[in-house]
Each structure stands twice: as structure tokens, then as C-alpha cells.
């Protein structure tokens, strides 16, 4: 890496929301102050991330050591901001602002209980997300990864009913189970193999390690399944289970933060732990490719059969995550670039869709696709945004999703993996198949008989509609102005 800037900015960016959590608890009786705290923290966080942006785009990296390693006894706790981390941090912190607004509208609209706890843990989750984004070595990455699993548990089980308990239990069993059972030993094995180096800086950690193909494959599988937030089958079923959470949680965490942390970790494993060269030499990445491809197709098929809108979105998310994993496992520069871009593109698209699902629920109490007939007339903004989000996730112009898919397909072609290229194309068609009937039903089918005819527009509260409009517009804008994303992803792939 060319040059390193030492700065505590990444730490403060992380802490911004962590410090907000106690303040939120403190102001639990003053609703205005409490929500203002959330907003201030969100903006401060975004500001801090933005402040780092020029340094990153100029080709430098930021490093900050929080706890020393003391003579290589253990890896230090270290922040390091590079292009990929920046991209992810930008997406997460900008969407937090929008989500905060949305959450206020949603939670108030539904008169939810324990809102303070909700906002506090939301803030902590965001800290953990940025921690993952800025982690400078595997140990730090793992630390924040676990923190995120735990901090999101109270959010998933927010409703405190039986369903929430079951969902929460599945959630933790999968996430903690795999991370302790697979990722931790893989981590330590890596530490031993690399002779005490877990840092993402410089060459890949295992680049010069002596590793046989069998060992490499086991290690790679342990990492990919260990970071099961990436939702690869067979460790995916926590995600639909987690849909019992309130919609803002599903929106930000299960479309952006948590799941993207999973794929982010997988990308790190591919690029910084193994390194593209080593993987190409060992030839083990194709195993992951095929698991991912399988996940893409199967989850799309399952998504079609789901009537619960949020579950349909959840299965769609599983598919889209595996797009990203598939992309990196192709090991071609363009595919990797496409993967990284897809983190952002899918985030904007999917969060819009979740916002819409939540807004529909707030306004009408409807949860199922089959109930949505004629809704386009009463909720034109919401359903319009839904259409845009669906287009982006499917990859229809003029939305951002097209670009990332384009890169992914380009990468597949580069890698001469035409079967996998076909997977991309087929699954895009499938995406269309499970999304567009929803849009069609909403706009072109008449409202069912017997339901009280609603005159004119009856949208969800403004605090709900505004965010989803913003993210929908964002999805479109990303198509026209992808410059920053391209630049950041090029930094990463160019650097390898």
C-alpha cells in the first residue's frame, strides 16, 4: 500500500453511535431528545466517514491501533480504512440516517413498546457494523462481527412473543454457532499458519503460507460458513427467521448491515486472507462458487413461493448475497469489483423494498403479497418506490443494480465460467418473476371486493414515505453517478 495515514477518525466514527446509546437510554423520557440524539449521532457518524473519504480516494489508507499486540503475543486491535471498508461504511452510515427517520415514523405509527431499547441497540449495532468495515485485521473483524450478532439479538426479539423468541433463538444459534464453531478455529489456524499475522495490510495473510489444497478448502469453507451472516446455504435459515423483527430492523440490518457484514467478511477472506493468487493456485474457490450458485437459484425459487412479503424479500436477500459471494469466488478483477459494487447497489434497492413493506404494514396492516391488489392507487409513492427497488434488485435500467450485475457477468465471462454466467442471467429472470407480480398486482389489479373503498391517496406517515423515496431515488442516481463506487472498488482490485 502506498501510504498510511494515522488517525483516530475510524475509532470515532465507530464510537459515535456507541456513545449515543447511553445518551438514548438517558433521554428515554424525553422523546424529542432521544430521537434527536439518534439523528445527531447518525449525522456525526456520516460526517466522520465522509471526512475520511478524500484521504481514501487519494489512494491512501487510514490506520489506527486501539490496543497494541505486545510483541506478537496476540493480534492487535486495529482499525484500517481502505476502499472496500470505505464503501461499506458509506453505505451503512448514510442509510442509517434514512432508517432513523423511517424508524421513528414506523415505531410511532405502530405505537411499539420499548422504543428506547430499540434505538439504543440499533445504535450499538451500527457501531459494530462500522467496526467490521474498518477492521484492520481478522481479530478485530471477528470481535465486531460477534458484537453485531449479540447487539442485534434484542432487536430481532423485539416483540417478545413466542414467534420472536423462536426467531431470536434460530438467529443466535446460527450466527453464534457458526462463528464459534467454524470461524474461530479457522481464525486461529490462520494465525498459526501465517506465523502470527492477521493484518489485512500488504499481501494476503496466507499468501506465502504452506497450505495444501485440502487444508485450503477446509479453511475456506470454515470461513465462508463461519461468517454465516452471508447467508450461504445451508446456513441461511436464520435470515427468514429474523424477519419477525420490526421492519426498520429488517430494512437496515437484514438488508444492509448484518448480511452485508457477512459478505464483507467473505470478501475479506477471499481478497485479504487467501489472496486471489493463492486461491487460483489451490483451485478451491470453485467449490464456493457452486455452493453460492446453488444458493442463488434455490433461494430465488423459494422466494417465488412465499406469500409473506417480508419473507419473500428475505429469500431474495439470500440470493443476492450469494451473488456477491459468487462474484468474489470467480477471482476475476471485474467480478470482484462487481461484488463490491453490489454491496452498495443491493443495499439501496433492498432497503427500499423493506421500507415499502413496512410502510404498507403501517398504513394498512397488510403483510401478504396476495393482499396487495389495488394498493398502487392508495399508496402510489410507496408502490412506485417498490417498483424502483424491484428494478434495481433485478437489474433493470435505469437503476444501480444493472451496473453491478453487469460487472459480475463481465467477471464471469472473464473467468470463462459460462455456467456460472448463466446462473446470473437465469436468476435475474427469476428475480423479475418474483418481484414484478407484486408490482403488477398493486397497480393493475382492482382492490378486492368487500374492502372498504378508499378515496384518494392514503399513504403511511411522512416519516415513512420520505425515507423510501430517498432510497428509491438513490438507487436510480447510483445508475447515473456510479463514479465514486467505481473509484473505491478500483482502489481495491487495482491494489491486489
Amino acid at each position: 500500500m502506498d501510504s498510511v495515514v494515522h488517525s483516530s477518525l475510524p475509532l470515532w466514527a465507530c464510537l459515535a453511535s456507541l456513545l449515543a446509546a447511553p445518551a438514548i437510554v438517558l433521554f428515554r423520557r424525553e422523546l424529542f431528545l432521544r430521537e434527536a440524539t439518534t439523528f445527531v449521532a447518525a449525522f456525526v457518524k456520516f460526517g466522520l466517514v465522509l471526512a475520511m473519504l478524500p484521504i481514501i480516494t487519494s489512494g491512501k489508507v487510514i490506520e489506527f491501533t486501539l490496543v497494541e499486540g505486545f510483541g506478537g503475543v496476540v493480534a492487535p486491535i486495529l482499525f484500517r480504512v481502505d476502499g472496500l471498508g470505505m464503501l461499506f461504511a458509506l453505505v451503512a452510515s448514510s442509510l442509517w440516517i434514512v432508517t432513523s427517520l423511517y424508524a421513528i415514523g414506523y415505531m410511532r405509527g405502530l405505537h411499539e413498546h420499548s422504543q428506547t431499547r430499540f434505538f439504543a441497540f440499533f445504535a450499538i449495532s451500527l457501531s459494530a457494523t462500522l467496526g467490521v468495515a474498518f477492521a484492520g485485521n481478522l481479530l478485530t473483524l471477528y470481535l465486531f462481527y460477534e458484537m453485531l450478532s449479540l447487539a442485534t439479538w434484542p432487536l430481532v426479539t423485539h416483540h417478545q412473543d413466542k414467534e420472536a423468541r423462536t426467531g431470536g433463538r434460530t438467529y443466535l444459534t446460527y450466527l453464534l454457532g457458526t462463528s464459534i464453531g467454524f470461524a474461530l478455529p479457522a481464525l486461529i489456524f490462520t494465525w498459526i499458519k501465517s506465523g502470527g499475522d492477521l493484518s489485512f495490510a500488504g499481501d494476503a495473510i496466507l499468501a506465502s503460507a504452506d497450505l495444501g489444497p485440502a487444508q485450503g478448502l477446509i479453511l475456506l469453507l470454515a470461513f465462508c460458513f463461519g461468517f454465516s451472516k452471508a447467508g450461504m446455504m445451508p446456513f441461511h435459515s436464520w435470515l427468514p427467521g429474523a424477519m419477525v423483527a420490526p421492519t426498520p430492523v429488517s430494512a437496515l440490518l437484514h438488508a444492509v448491515a448484518v448480511v452485508k457484514v457477512g459478505v464483507f467478511c467473505v470478501i475479506r477472506v477471499f481478497t485479504a486472507v487467501f489472496g486471489v493468487d493463492l486461491l487460483a493456485k489451490l483451485g478451491v474457490a470453485t467449490v464456493i462458487s457452486w455452493i453460492a450458485a446453488f444458493t442463488v437459484i434455490v433461494s430465488s425459487l423459494i422466494a417465488m413461493s412465499q406469500d409473506n412479503l417480508k419473507r419473500r424479500l428475505a429469500f431474495s436477500t439470500i440470493g443476492q448475497l450469494s451473488y456477491i459471494v459468487l462474484g468474489v469466488s470467480l477471482l476475476s478483477a471485474h467480478a470482484v469489483q462487481g461484488s463490491m459494487m453490489h454491496i452498495a447497489m443491493h443495499a439501496f434497492g433492498k432497503i427500499t423494498l423493506f421500507f415499502c413493506a413496512g410502510a404498507i404494514f403501517v398504513a394498512t396492516g397488510k403483510k401478504y403479497v396476495s393482499q396487495l391488489s389495488g394498493l398502487g392507487k392508495t399508496m402510489p409513492f410507496t408502490m412506485g418506490a417498490f417498483a424502483i427497488g424491484a428494478m434495481s434488485v433485478t437489474g433493470v435500467p435505469p437503476t444501480g443494480g444493472l451496473l453491478s450485475k453487469f460487472y459480475l457477468v463481465w467477471g464471469a465471462a472473464d473467468a470463462q465460467q459460462f455456467a456460472l454466467l448463466a446462473v446470473y442471467l437465469v436468476s435475474s429472470v427469476l428475480n423479475g418473476v418474483y418481484f414484478f407480480p407484486v408490482v403488477y398486482r398493486a397497480f393493475f389489479k382492482p382492490a378486492p371486493e368487500g374492502e372498504a373503498a378508499v378515496e384518494g391517496i392514503r399513504e403511511a406517515p411522512l416519516a415513512c414515505v420520505l425515507p423510501l423515496s430517498i432510497t428509491a431515488v438513490g438507487s436510480v442516481l447510483l445508475f447515473f453517478f456510479p463514479g465514486l463506487l467505481l473509484e473505491l472498488t478500483k482502489l481495491m482490485t487495482g491494489a491486489q
Binding site: R28, L31, F70, V73, T116, T157, R169, L176, I180, L184
Partner: protein, 523 residues
């Protein structure tokens, strides 16, 4: 003055105990300040010793001035403090001090009539444990083990629960067998070497002529079995769960973190300082067997813990599993396994303390000790629950708590020595711990307390401002119990975050001792 520190650290609680006996009988309120000041002196000494040792190497202290200039090594009574036991001294005194704070008024409530006696025993136990740690003499070790054991039998029996006395009796029988085996082993060692000083024995045993001696072999087996009984290593654990769960709460807070850990320390000390790593790991060649025993201990402890319905019982079985961690780690026969085992002694002491204090507060406030009766505690006692959660996360091994890093070192040792069974057992036990603790957390987090279920409005948002500020801490225990808990929780996290310097000290200790590395390097 500073060269007398090793004596003062023992004498402070000893005189404290005497003073408590003299002054406390008239006025029970005098006991507590005496206890705290005695332990504070010990704590100060421990810190000073740790600093001194880590800067200038091991300290030898000859009781009564029978030093090596006057008599050969092994004639006078010697205390020896190296980096390893200096660390342990700090742990023991810290735990004792925190428990002492916790015992404020609590001990009086639990042993109304016998408060001074309780505090005397408390301090004598500390003398015993500290003595075990500092002594450099194999026979004195036995005497001090008996001092600590005798006081702990009495402490366990002091509870109001009648099952406690039965448990204490079983504990006594098992404990005596353990100590006697140890004594017998020392006898055989003495027969072979003619000395009782650890360093002198080690020097003599380093002679290859003794490598195959069956006397030494028998001595080692006897000592090992004795120590295993004392630390409740798996098949010999029977006394522990009842003894620790039916004793007074203060006693459980003191015994659970310390007794087994100190026994593990004794095992490590015997392995490294008396017999020497080379003999233990190479001439004996038992590593695999013992590690497999440890694997069984870990799995059995975890499974038995899963089957428990009482909170404290469950924690006791977890101790059994944790002992398996440490024994396994120590017997991995490599550097990082040993580092992990020693680090886990420290980490586990605080983790256990954290959980036991929290569990005791829970039990006191719920007036029930079954896990399913802990409903809705998080809302009533947020601080205590936080402490409990920290302890639980450390047990599971979530970063950045101390539990994570000890697992890290142990796993590293396990992977390096290729003991995959041990690695898997550690991971399985982490997962079992996760299941166990999230079961509790779920109950404590969701369950509606019957008393609270009617006022749903208690929820802060729907009717804000209606219930005053008082509710935030209203349900907590008294500060004297909650503050030590929070301090312990903080230590658990800090010990994790700043584990590297601690491990540095452990490594320094292993350099000073005939190193495990010697055996590992020979591979």
C-alpha cells in the same frame, strides 16, 4: 520493608483472623473493617510483588532467615515468588477483596450468630490460598492446602441449608483423600530425593538416572490424583456441585473462583517446577491420555450443566468443564497450551466470580434458585443483569472478554499440538455455554414477572413520565453487592482487551521455570 512483602502478604490476613476473633466477638460490626483492611494490605503487597517480580525476576524469601548462605537449599522454609504466582496472588487477593465487599451485611444475615467466626475462616482461607501460591516447599504446600481445605469445609457447612452440611461432609471426605494422596506422593519424592524444596527436588530429578525411577513415577501419580481430586477433575468431581451450590452465598463467591483454580495452579507448579516439563511430557508420555481425559471432562461438564435446573448447580458443572479446559491446556505439552491454561486460571477466576455474584443476587431477590423462576429480571435489575451478561459472554468466549482470549490461546495450543479432540471439545463446550446462558438470558429478558405483568404501562414510552426515575435502579440489590459485580465485569473485559501484557508476564514466568518450550522445541 519491601523485602518482607512475601511474609506480609500472608501475615496480614492471619493477624486479621486473630484480631477478628479477639475484637469481633464483642461487636460484630468490627469484623468487616478488619477484614477489608487485612485483605487490602495483602492486595497492596500482591500488586507490589507483581511489579517487583516483573521488573527484577523471581524473589526468594527464607522464613526465619534460613537462607542459602547459612544452610543448603531445602533445609530452611522458603517462599518463592515468580511471575506466575505473583499473577495468581493478585487474582486471589482481588477476588477475596471483592468478595469481602460483597459480604458486607450479607455475611451477617447469613450467619447471624457466627459472623466473627465466618470472617475468621474467610481470612484463614485466604492465608491458605496465598500460602499455597507462594510456598516453595512441597510439604508446606500440603499443610497450606489443608489449612485452606479445613476452612472451606467449615465455611461450606456454615450455611443455613441442611444440604450444605451433608455436602460439606462429602467435600471433607473427598478433600482429605485428595490431600492425603498428595502427601503420600510427596513422601515418595522425599524418599527418592531427600529434600522437600521444590527447586532442590527438581535439580535432583533433572539427573537422567531418575528419569525411569518407579518411585518418582508413583510419586507423580499420587500427587496428580490428589490434586485432581482437589480441583474436581472430571471423574473425581462429585463433591463440588453440592458443596458450592448449598453453601452460603459469600462462601460460594469465594470458593468457586479460587479453590479449583489454585489446585490447577498446584498441578502446573508440580508439573513444571518439581518434575520438570521434560520429564512430565517426554519420559512419561501421558499427554495424549490426559488430554483425552480433559476432553471427557469438558464434554461431561457441559452436558451435566445442560441438565441442571438450578442456576448455581449449573454454574458448578460449568466449573467442572472449565477445569477440563485448564488441565487439557496444561497437558497439551506445548507453550501456548500452557500459556492458555495459566491465562484461563486468571480469566476463569474472574468469570466465575462475576457469575456467582450475579447468580447470588438473582437468587436472593427472586427467592428461588431455579432457572425458570428468573423471569423478567433484566427489567428489574439492569445493572446486575449487565454483570451477569458480561460473565456469560466471557464463558461463551465472545470477544473482547477474557474468556475469548483464553480460548484463543488454548485453541492455538490444541491446533499446534494436533489434539483435534480437544479443539472440538472446546468449541462444543462454547456452544453449549451459549445455549445455557441464552436460555437464562431469554427467560430473564422476556419472562414477565407476575408482580409486573399487570402494569404494562410501566413501559417507558407509552406513558412517559408516569413512573419516576426511581425505577431504573429501584430493583437492584444493595450497592455493596452490585459494585463488586460491576468491578468484576469490568475486570473480565479489561483482562481480555489488555490480555497481551498479561500473557507477556506468563511467558516471562514460563521462561523462568524449566520451560514447556524445551519439550516443545524438541519435537
Amino acid at each position: 520493608m519491601s523485602e518482607q512483602l512475601p511474609a506480609i502478604i500472608l501475615l496480614a490476613p492471619l493477624f486479621g483472623a486473630l484480631l477478628t476473633g479477639l475484637a469481633g466477638n464483642r461487636d460484630h460490626r468490627r469484623c468487616f473493617p478488619i477484614l477489608i483492611s487485612a485483605l487490602a494490605v495483602s492486595f497492596g503487597c500482591a500488586i507490589a510483588l507483581l511489579v517487583q517480580v516483573s521488573q527484577s525476576g523471581p524473589i526468594d524469601y527464607f522464613v526465619g532467615g534460613w537462607n542459602t548462605e547459612r544452610v543448603p537449599l531445602g533445609v530452611g522454609i522458603q517462599l518463592r515468588i515468580d511471575a506466575l504466582n505473583a499473577l495468581l496472588l493478585v487474582v486471589i487477593t482481588t477476588v477475596a477483596l471483592l468478595t469481602a465487599v460483597y459480604s458486607f451485611r450479607r455475611a451477617g444475615e447469613e450467619n447471624t450468630e457466627k459472623t466473627p467466626q465466618f470472617y475468621m475462616l474467610f481470612q484463614m482461607l485466604c492465608v491458605g490460598l496465598l500460602g499455597i501460591t507462594v510456598t516453595a516447599d512441597a510439604f508446606n504446600l500440603f499443610v497450606l492446602v489443608e489449612v485452606s481445605s479445613l476452612t472451606s469445609y467449615a465455611l461450606v457447612a456454615m450455611g443455613s441449608k441442611s444440604r450444605g452440611t451433608v455436602a460439606a461432609f462429602n467435600y471433607l471426605i473427598m478433600g482429605t483423600v485428595g490431600a492425603s494422596f498428595y502427601l503420600l506422593g510427596v513422601g515418595y519424592l522425599y524418599m527418592q530425593t531427600g529434600t522437600l524444596n521444590m527447586a532442590a527436588i527438581h535439580e535432583i530429578l533433572a539427573d537422567p538416572a531418575f528419569g525411569k525411577s518407579s518411585t518418582v513415577f508413583v510419586a507423580f501419580i499420587l500427587i496428580l490424583v490428589g490434586v485432581w481430586i482437589k480441583m474436581a477433575f472430571f471423574p473425581l468431581y462429585g463433591w463440588l456441585p453440592n458443596a458450592y451450590s448449598y453453601c452460603p452465598s459469600t462462601t460460594s463467591c469465594l470458593l468457586a473462583p479460587l479453590m479449583t483454580k489454585v489446585s490447577v495452579y498446584v498441578m502446573i507448579r508440580v508439573m513444571l517446577s518439581i518434575f520438570g516439563a521434560d520429564w512430565v511430557f517426554q519420559s512419561l508420555g501421558w499427554s495424549h491420555t490426559v488430554v483425552w481425559l480433559a476432553v471427557i471432562a469438558i464434554l461431561a461438564g457441559s452436558v451435566l450443566a445442560l441438565a441442571q435446573v438450578e442456576l448455581k448447580k449449573m454454574l458448578c458443572y460449568l466449573i467442572v468443564a472449565e477445569v477440563g479446559y485448564m488441565v487439557g491446556g496444561a497437558w497439551l505439552a506445548n507453550h501456548w497450551g500452557m500459556v492458555g491454561a495459566i491465562y484461563h486460571i486468571l480469566a476463569d477466576a474472574f468469570m466465575t466470580l462475576c457469575l456467582f455474584i450475579a447468580a447470588n443476587i438473582f437468587i436472593k431477590h427472586c427467592r428461588a434458585d431455579r432457572i425458570d423462576q428468573l423471569e423478567g429480571l433484566f427489567k428489574r435489575m439492569p445493572l446486575t443483569s449487565t454483570g451477569f451478561v458480561v460473565g456469560a459472554l466471557a464463558m461463551i468466549g465472545v470477544p473482547p472478554t477474557a474468556g475469548f482470549f483464553s480460548k484463543w490461546y488454548l485453541l492455538r495450543g490444541g491446533i499446534e499440538s494436533g489434539q483435534w479432540g480437544y479443539v472440538i471439545a472446546l468449541l462444543v463446550s462454547s456452544l453449549v455455554n451459549a445455549v445455557l446462558f441464552f436460555r437464562i438470558i431469554e427467560i430473564a429478558y422476556f419472562g414477565k414477572n407476575p408482580a409486573e405483568s399487570h402494569d404494562h404501562a410501566h413501559d417507558e414510552d407509552s406513558h412517559q413520565g408516569q413512573a419516576g426515575e426511581a425505577t431504573l435502579l429501584g430493583g437492584e440489590g444493595r450497592p455493596a453487592t452490585v459494585i463488586p459485580l460491576l468491578i468484576t465485569a469490568a475486570i473480565v473485559i479489561l483482562l481480555g482487551v489488555f490480555n497481551a501484557p498479561v500473557v507477556e508476564i506468563i511467558q516471562q514466568a514460563l521462561e523462568g521455570m524449566p520451560v514447556v518450550g524445551a519439550a516443545a522445541a524438541a519435537r
